[in-house]
Point group: C2
């Protein structure tokens, strides 16, 4: 008599998690250093030292109540104000603390944002390739996720397909730039065209269309690439952020929804997020983590390793004849497989202890993702395996 819906969900195990488990098991046989595990997006660079110092300082100098007492259900006011100020300074916005709602990372932020701006049955559009966890975030809210086919030339937006799919039931677009899995960063040109289209469609349909902007990789942008702030382009934007990648804190589950002050009902969105959290008994991220993060808002981990790894992989892949869009950010690369069936391709790669994720669950068949948030030394060794794999099979 247990709930059949959730029971059924147990069958739909994530491909990424399965591959990661394979890599761990294989590591027990041959030593994990010999498994070229490109499956999981778990940051490899350490948290900034200052974060650890701030945590210790808080633990030594604040009272138990100040540190561990209940957070207000909409988040700690001083933390939200600091985040707002920091965003205003960096991106020329006009947020106040009330526009910021602290969440369990970007995942929690997206899940809350979509519930704020849709009702069950509404359509949410996202763009292939997309992070597969969007499916449970959106579908469990009752809204329906539809996927706009990819623009495989450069992984910017496929506007032709987008216009075809936009309709009166479309209440939100869920975008992700810099993008997991392609590493593409939406240009100012793309964002301007997107905003123009949505302003036009809002008028045509007579209702709001919101952008939910998933931005956990906002700080991981490579040399020469411009990563414009989405909310600057379109008023009805809810920006979803995480400190998981920028300061390597994925386990601490901390991020936020930042509602554009010009968004419809902007003054209500944070409070509505609080009601959504209340229903699931969540009531904000850990208080000490909120407080500590607010002291290091201008810092990031040393993420130069990701760019080094990207260049190594991009050069080798293109040398080996892979078709591949050069990532502008993130720690992912998304080349085309050397045969049509990406699952078969990735299966063969396992014989060389190369753990690659086939692209099917990202909504673009025939590609694969490599998460290169690993040591550069290991990336270098993996190139030998990659050459051997390609030479012996294609």
């Amino acid at each position: 008599m247990i709930n059949e819906q959730y029971k059924k969900m147990l069958e739909g195990k994530s491909v990424i998690r399965q591959l990661s488990e394979f890599a761990t098991a294989r590591g027990k046989e041959i030593g994990y250093e010999n498994v070229f595990d490109y499956s999981l997006g778990n940051p490899s660079v350490p948290v900034p030292e200052q974060f650890t110092e701030v945590m210790i300082d808080l633990l030594k100098n604040k009272t138990s109540m100040e540190l561990h007492g209940y957070s207000p259900s909409l988040g700690i006011a001083s933390v939200k104000e600091k985040i707002a100020e920091n965003l205003n300074k960096r991106f020329g916005m006009n947020y106040t603390g009330n526009h910021i709602f602290p969440t369990s990372g970007a995942a929690g932020a997206v899940a809350h944002a979509v519930r704020c701006v849709t009702k069950p049955g509404d359509e949410v559009l996202t763009f292939a390739p997309f992070f597969p966890e969007y499916m449970p975030y959106i579908n469990s809210s009752g809204a329906v996720l539809k996927v706009v086919p990819a623009n495989t030339d450069n992984f910017q937006i496929n506007f032709e397909k987008l216009e075809e799919m936009l309709n009166e039931n479309t209440m939100a677009l869920l975008i992700n730039t810099p993008n997991n899995p392609s590493g593409a960063v939406y240009s100012a040109e793309t964002l301007t065209a997107l905003a123009d289209l949505l302003y036009r469609k809002q008028e045509e349909y007579g209702h709001d269309i919101f952008i939910i902007s998933d931005e956990p990789y906002r700080e991981i942008v490579f040399a020469g690439v411009d990563a414009p702030y989405v909310s600057k382009f379109y008023d009805n934007t809810l920006s979803c952020y995480s400190y998981s990648k920028s300061i390597s804190l994925p386990g601490e589950r901390i991020g936020y929804v930042a509602t554009n002050p010009k968004c419809t009902d902007a003054e209500l969105i944070s409070a509505m997020c609080g009601q959504i959290s209340r229903g699931i008994g969540h009531n904000c991220p850990a208080s000490i983590i909120q407080l500590a993060v607010s002291e290091v808002l201008d810092l990031t981990s040393d993420m130069s390793v990701y760019e080094t790894n990207m260049n190594l992989l991009y050069n080798e892949l293109t040398n080996l004849g892979f078709s591949c869009v050069k990532p502008g950010g993130t720690f992912y690369i998304f080349p085309k497989a050397l045969e049509e069936d990406a699952v078969a391709f990735c299966k063969k790669a396992l014989d060389y202890d190369l753990v690659l994720v086939p692209s099917d669950s990202f909504g673009v068949p025939g590609y694969f993702r490599m998460a290169y948030c690993i040591d550069t030394e290991k990336v270098e060794r993996s190139l030998v395996a990659l050459r051997k794999f390609v030479k012996e099979n294609y």
Copy 2:
């Protein structure tokens, strides 16, 4: 075009929170030390020193990945095993780590447990007086919360009313012992009678009936009171715990669901909780908090102040002619108001800077709750105000 359901929830502001805000505002006028604020259940005693030491030790000696990397979505294995062992040792259970699902406190635990064992439309029974937040936890899942009237003699279970209300749609009972707001602790006799009744009804209806046991006050039990472990009495029990009160960590949002190994589908419940979390993007409590708590499982804060406060208040209240069941645990007391309308009674008390919570939202009209998790010195000063209030009004 934002979601009307959540927008509407904004109107139903918690009475407790409103009174707490009044107390804070009044404190700014006359000094908070002069406001006898009995509104909020925010623990006043500090976290055990060892917890702080463990946190600092983890920060100094663990790598960033060990400490802040992604927690597995079902919780950190070593943490769950330690919790299971600790419960087995204390209560003679046979949990393994797989029966433990770490949550955002007991609130998150109850919200997950109810989603596991009910589907929309099913009935969940709880017992007056009850914690008002049960309403959003249950109702947002789609199940329907029904309230069994109180046994006001001793705040044990009103079995006559319970039998009347149990029906084929009843899939779960949500109990809370030690109880917020009454402070009552269910006796072994009560729990035995409850289990007997439910085993009989399961057979009669041909389906499982689960007990969701909300136990955040399990460690706050006063001298001479026996607080039996609910799950020992009934196999289909999901125990919901929080470290908020026992080690004064409410802001860190840490607790768990512990599924009785003999519960129907016991081996699936934790994994289902994981799927429920996944939909809201939550994915476990903060990793450093999971790790730190698992090192102090045998500790509690020094909670003797709660018993001291309880005795002071109980003696004064009964001397003043209040009808009052003596609390067996928690940091609440729940006397009968001196007039029928508890809201009017509590409103008059505000003139004496006594912030009492009227009982209507707890499902028993005519009573009031005092949360005495405050300094004993302040409790003593409040008795003067209490005497004056009663003398001048009743």
